[in-house]
C-alpha cells in the first residue's frame, strides 16, 4: 500500500508523518511511505489543505492531524 503525507514541512505535517509510520509499525503493516513537500505537486494533486494523508493516490485526510485511532482505521481499510 502506498502511503503519502503531504505538507510544506511544518510541524503538523511532521507530526502526521511520524504518527503514520508509528501506527504502521505497531500494526505490522507493510507500507510504501513517502513525504511530499513540493508545492507544485501538492497543487497538481488537488491538495489545498495540509497536512494531507493519501492512500494509493486517494486523499484520505486533509487539513488536520488525525488521531492514531483514525489512522489505524484508515490504514486497516486498505
Amino acid at each position: 500500500m502506498k502511503v503519502e503525507v503531504l505538507g510544506p514541512g511544518c510541524k503538523n505535517c511532521k507530526t502526521l508523518a511520524e504518527r503514520v509510520k508509528k501506527v504502521a509499525e505497531e500494526e505490522g503493516l507493510e507500507i510504501d511511505f513517502a513525504y511530499i513537500d513540493d508545492m507544485n505537486e501538492l497543487a497538481e494533486r488537488g491538495i489545498a489543505l495540509t497536512p494531507a494523508l493519501m492512500i494509493n493516490g486517494e486523499a484520505a485526510v486533509t487539513g488536520k492531524v488525525p488521531s492514531k485511532e483514525e489512522i489505524k482505521n484508515i490504514l486497516s481499510k486498505n
Partner: protein
Amino acid sequence: MSRNKKILLFIITFIAVYFIPFDSATIQEAIAEGFLMLQYYAQEHVIFCLIPAFFVAGAIANFLSQQAIIKYFGAEANKILSYSVASVSGAILAVCSCTVLPLFASIYKTGAGIGPATAFLYSGPAINVLAIILTARVLGWQLGLARVIGAVIFALIIGILMALIFHQSEEERQNSMVTAGGEGEPPRTGWQNISYFAILILTLIFLAWAEPEQAEGLWYRIYQIRWFLAGLTLAILAVMLYRWFTRQEIKEWLAETWNFTELIAPLLFAGVLIAGFLMGRPGTEAGLIPEHVVADFVGGNSLSANFLASILGAFMYFATLTEVPILEGLMGLGMGDGPALALLLAGPALSLPNMLVIHSVLGTKKTSVFIVLVVIMATLSGLIYGNIVL
C-alpha cells in the same frame, strides 16, 4: 537534528559564551530587559488575551468547514467572488502559517489563478485571528484595524494588478489546468456555528477589554462590568458546548487548541525575549540597539522610513506573531506609526524562505513582480496611515 548540526550548534554556543562580555553593564542590562519584557507579556497578555485567542483559533480550525470556502477559489468560480473571498478568508484559513503556501499553490495551479492566489498570499498571514487580536491588544486598536483594512484592500489591488500584468500567460496556462479534487465535508448547521463563534469572540473581547483613558462613557461602563459580561458569555458557551457538541468534538477542539499553543507560544516568547534584549521595553533605553539608530532609519513618516520598513519586512522572517513584540520594541525606540504598519503588512506576507517556495510555484518573473508590488503597496499604506494618525 543530525549529529553534524548538533556539533555545529555546540561550537557556536561555546564561542558565544566564551566571547560575550557578560560583565559589561550594557549586556547585563539588556539581558535583564529581555526577561522583564517576557514577564510583562506573561503578566499582561497571556491569561486574558493569548490563551482565549488560542481557544478561538482551535475552534476555527476544527469547526469551520474550510472545504466550503475553498470552493470559491475554483477555476469556474465567479471572479469577483473569488477575489473578495481570497482577500478576507485568511482570517479563517491562515491561522497557522504553514497552511498559507499550499493553499496559495493550489489556488494558482488548479483554481482561480494568479490574481486571487496572490491576493490570498498577501492578506492571509496578516489577518489571521491570532495576529489581529495580538496586534490590537499590544500595539493599539488603531494599528490592529489599519492592519486588517490595509491587508484586505491592498491584497485586492495586488491580486488584480498581477492578473492584469500576466494576462497573456494566464490565458495560456488556464487551458492546461487540472481540476482540483479533494473530498467535500458537510458543513455544520449555519446559525449554530455563527452564534457559537460570536459568543467565543465576545468572551475574548470582554476579557481583553482595556481600560479607556476617560473614566466615563459607554466604553468605560463596559470596562467596569467586563467580568460580569465575560462570565455571562462563558455560561452561554458552556450551555452551547453541552447541548450542541459531542464529547469527541470538544476533545478535538482542545487538542487543536493545544496544537496551536505548542506550535506558536515557544516561538512567540523567544521572540519577546530577543525583542526585549535588543530593544528594551517601550520607554526604557536599556536594549542593545540605541534609540537614535531606530529613529534615524524608521522614525517619523517619511517616504524613506516607510520604504525601508517595507523592505526589512519583506526579507526578514518572522515566526507567527513574533512581529508584534519586535514592533513594540521598535516603536518604543521611536519607529513611526506609518513604518510600523508598512512592516506589519510586508512582514508576514513575505520572507526569504517563503520567497523560495513562491518562486518554485510562480517562476522568477512573476515572483519578482509580486515582491516589488508588495513593497510598493506596504510603503503606500504606511504613508497613508502615518498621515492620518499624525
